[in-house]
């Protein structure tokens, strides 16, 4: 089946294997291994990517379903070798331990902050409730997202 989509700002128009999950396409066909597989059933959020502005589990998306969509993965965030604001905040705040949950966590944070750069603690917790972290206890992750929001507000001149 031939489909067209945008991935990390690059246009694709290609023949794809129909019964493949988006997650496997990213990791195995394109070598974009930043997106992780934890549970494979929508429970852990390690596979989170953004499709048309919304955070989704790429383990629950069939590849043909992205036809006509705009997809962003963790690899699409840094520019010219420089980390983006959210990535930087995670590093600065020590919100990364083993790092397995981090790409998914950052994509959920990005989906939130792209719409709302002044989220409350509650809104932050809700945005990452589908992302499991076994290391950090979430506190530093929430701090990192708050710090990123503040940096975004500063650069947006608010």
């Amino acid at each position: 089946m031939k489909i067209s989509f945008t991935l990390n700002n690059e246009r694709f128009s290609i023949d794809v294997i129909e019964d493949m999950r988006l997650l496997d396409f990213l990791r195995d066909e394109l070598g974009l291994t930043g997106t992780k597989e934890g549970c494979g059933e929508g429970e852990c959020g390690a596979c989170t990517v953004i499709i048309d502005g919304k955070a989704v589990n790429s383990c629950l998306v069939l590849l043909p379903e992205i036809d006509g969509s705009e997809v962003t993965t963790i690899e699409g965030l840094s520019k010219d070798g420089e980390l983006d604001t959210i990535q930087k905040a995670f590093v600065d705040q020590g919100a990364v331990q083993c790092g397995f949950c981090t790409p998914g966590m950052i994509m959920s944070a990005k989906a939130l902050l792209d719409k709302n750069d002044s989220p409350s603690d509650e809104e932050i917790m809700e945005a990452i409730e589908g992302n499991l972290c076994r290391c950090t206890g979430y506190y530093k992750i929430v701090q990192a997202i708050k710090a990123a929001a503040e940096n975004l507000r500063n650069t947006n001149g608010k």
């Binding site: 019964d19 929508g42 989170t48 998306v61 043909p64 379903e65 036809d67 409730e129």
Partner: protein, 279 residues
């Protein structure tokens, strides 16, 4: 996995693909893809709704509302008319999964999955919802309570699909949705109790405590009949008649029974105080 994927753009195209053996509709995929992975469903053809024209709106029909089968849970939660006229649905949908799940999952898919724990089903039963079901032979209508026959079992037959869901506006009734789960919002519930209440009427529905979402009709009738001599213990006793829980990985039957009993008492208490801060 080995199947082909079709993306019809018209209802005619969709219906003709559904007549094929082992063809399954894909809406948000949050149930279907998990089932395929667990090999509980082995499809030959997946019919995606992604490029279907229409059936993607939330419509105000006066005293009712209609939701197309492609509308996601996130879209419903962001809808002005839903928050104004269907607060019970909003309360139930907030309890489903995570943002990632709600961004894909549809209301229609949640109903068709017919889980005893289906959160939207509780709200839809309380709102007297019915489905419009399309096929090559035209359209039929069925109430959600009649549509769901058992856990995962519905009256949908091959070649049929759910076009839309229609339900009553319930602005005048006081809504409550109580759910006890294991982990906040990801957990499929241990037990849930939804209700719509006024001075003269109560509508109640329970999730996860019987093979399907159930309505304790006797208790609801008792409430309306005995407004002056209402006895709470009697009411709860009548309501508990339809509670027939099982032991499973999430909870024991004893625990579920205790939870529902407490949630029914809480429902009455919150109604009397007209606010959740009463709890």
């Amino acid at each position: 996995m080995s199947f082909d994927v079709q993306m019809p753009t018209s209802e005619e195209g969709l219906v003709s693909l559904l007549s094929k053996e082992s063809s399954h509709i894909l809406a948000g995929g949050t149930d279907l893809l998990v089932k395929i992975r667990l090999k509980r469903v082995i499809p030959k053809t997946i019919v995606s709704l992604r490029h279907l024209k229409g059936l993607d709106r939330i419509e105000d029909l006066g005293d009712k509302m209609r939701v197309g089968c492609r509308v996601t849970i996130s879209e419903l939660l962001n809808s002005e008319i839903i928050s104004r006229h269907a607060r019970i649905l909003q309360m139930a949908l907030r309890q489903i999964g995570s943002p990632q799940i709600r961004n894909r999952a549809t209301l229609a898919g949640n109903i068709i999955n017919a889980s005893p724990a289906g959160d939207s089903i509780v709200a839809m039963v309380l709102s007297n919802a019915s489905l419009s079901i399309g096929s090559a032979n035209g359209e039929r209508y069925e109430r959600v309570v009649d549509f769901i026959r058992g856990p995962g079992v519905t009256t949908l037959s091959r070649g049929e699909f759910v076009k839309s869901i229609t339900f009553e506006k319930t602005d005048v009734l006081f809504p409550q949705f109580h759910k006890v789960g294991q982990r906040n919002s990801m957990a499929i519930s241990v037990a849930s109790v939804g209700s719509l209440t006024s001075e003269s009427e109560i509508r109640l529905a329970f999730g996860s405590v019987a093979p399907t979402v159930v309505v304790p009709i006797d208790a609801c009738e008792y409430y309306s009949a005995e407004i002056d001599s209402f006895d709470e213990e009697r009411f709860v006793e009548l309501a508990m008649k339809c509670v027939t829980p099982i032991d499973d990985v999430r909870a024991t039957a004893w625990y579920r029974t205790t939870v529902v009993r407490n949630l029914i008492h809480r429902t009455l208490k919150v109604w009397r105080k007209k606010g959740y801060n009463a709890v």
